[in-house]
Subunit: 228 residues, 2 copies
């Protein structure tokens, strides 16, 4: 065991066995291969519902671009999902969307705009051979021009009725459901490494314990001293 | 052309060309092979969102079982979807759920309970060789015991996170998305017949025209007289 594993194995003793099993099971299903990005949502309600959808589909990270609207988790709707999904906010840059795109490209993600107005790709034929960041826009005006211009690909969720759009959390759920199924059936390496799972589970322990961060630091300090 | 076709071809002259094309396109994608049934929802909001989801996935008919809650379309949320999806309410019988199940079985549908608490089938391995009626329950207590006991099959939407349930309209969207894709890839006959499409488009014309029903009756009477 390396140091991180040792720290985790001590720390996890402090949470319930039920939680421990849950952490193992869920971390093994978490992915950073898909990131979800929401741009400038008008309704707090929807942002929180997207957060919940991300958790349900094992998405490790949600990015929030804040041009005008202050994002705030609505705890009732997110049902605590905000605790388990990493939220990275992007407020710098003019506009912040461009900085967010730049950051994600540097990290190796393909930038994918979700929009009903494209015939480029749908959720079933979109290439999934590289990490993907899916951008979702506001319900009324969609994604900003910056995102639509700078994206690598555009994808739509097929619809067959009179209603021209799904609610954003519904769109995200349908898209993530299909993509996850496709990744599951593929041979791509899209789940977290063992090492990343340990890091994630350590964070979850810290969040789950009162004074979690202090306890973790203490364990780590003691283990380092012991090794010296 | 038979009488119904003649009636429709006259009636449709009275709606805009845009609507006419839309009716053709959407009717060709409508299905009665899948029915959606909602039981006893607590929140009007959710029932309307399910209605919208049904329209988006080309579901011709939504059944509403009313044990305790009065269902009422929330027009803001359904965005007019109530106009295009047939809603059949079930209020008779003790409980009405049993009468609804009986009716649907007589019409040749498999009764399928959607529940997170099953390992019987998921949306990817559920048999789709016969018409299906999917029952969705309340957000808090799920489906009634009657439905869980009388159903032919149970199906779940796979989830991978801490959150234990999706909002019902999200569940319905994920399920319908996957099932529709599977039917699309299959050789089963699951779309409406030409005849049923004409009937449906005639209903849509009637709903879309003021005095639509009267106009349709007049056209029909005139055409019958002409044939005699």
């Amino acid at each position: 065991m390396n140091l991180d594993e040792k720290v985790y194995s001590e720390l996890v003793q402090l949470v319930s066995e039920h939680k421990r099993e849950l952490f193992d099971e869920i971390a093994a299903q978490r992915t950073d291969y898909i990131n979800v990005v929401i741009e400038n949502l008008y309704k707090e309600h929807n942002a929180s519902a997207v957060l919940r959808t991300c958790d349900c589909y094992g998405i490790k990270k949600l990015h929030v671009i804040e041009n005008e609207n202050q994002y705030k988790v609505n705890r009732d709707i997110a049902l605590g999902a905000g605790k388990w999904v990493d939220v990275e906010t992007h407020t710098l840059g003019k506009p912040p969307a461009l900085e967010c795109i730049k950051t994600l490209k540097q990290r190796g993600y393909k930038i994918i705009a979700t929009t009903p107005h494209t015939d480029e790709f749908d959720i079933y034929n979109l290439p999934v051979d590289e990490p993907m960041a899916f951008f979702f826009g506001t319900e009324f005006s969609g994604l900003s021009d910056e995102v639509l211009e700078q994206c690598d690909m555009r994808v739509k969720v097929p619809m067959y009725g009179f209603t021209e759009s799904f609610n954003i959390s519904v769109s995200a759920a349908i898209l993530l459901s299909a993509l996850r199924k496709r990744l599951n059936d593929s041979s791509f390496i899209w789940k977290l490494s063992e090492e990343d799972q340990i890091t994630l589970k350590t964070e979850w322990c810290i969040k789950n314990l009162s004074r979690g961060k202090e306890i973790e630091s203490e364990i780590r300090r003691r283990l380092i001293e012991k090794e010296l």
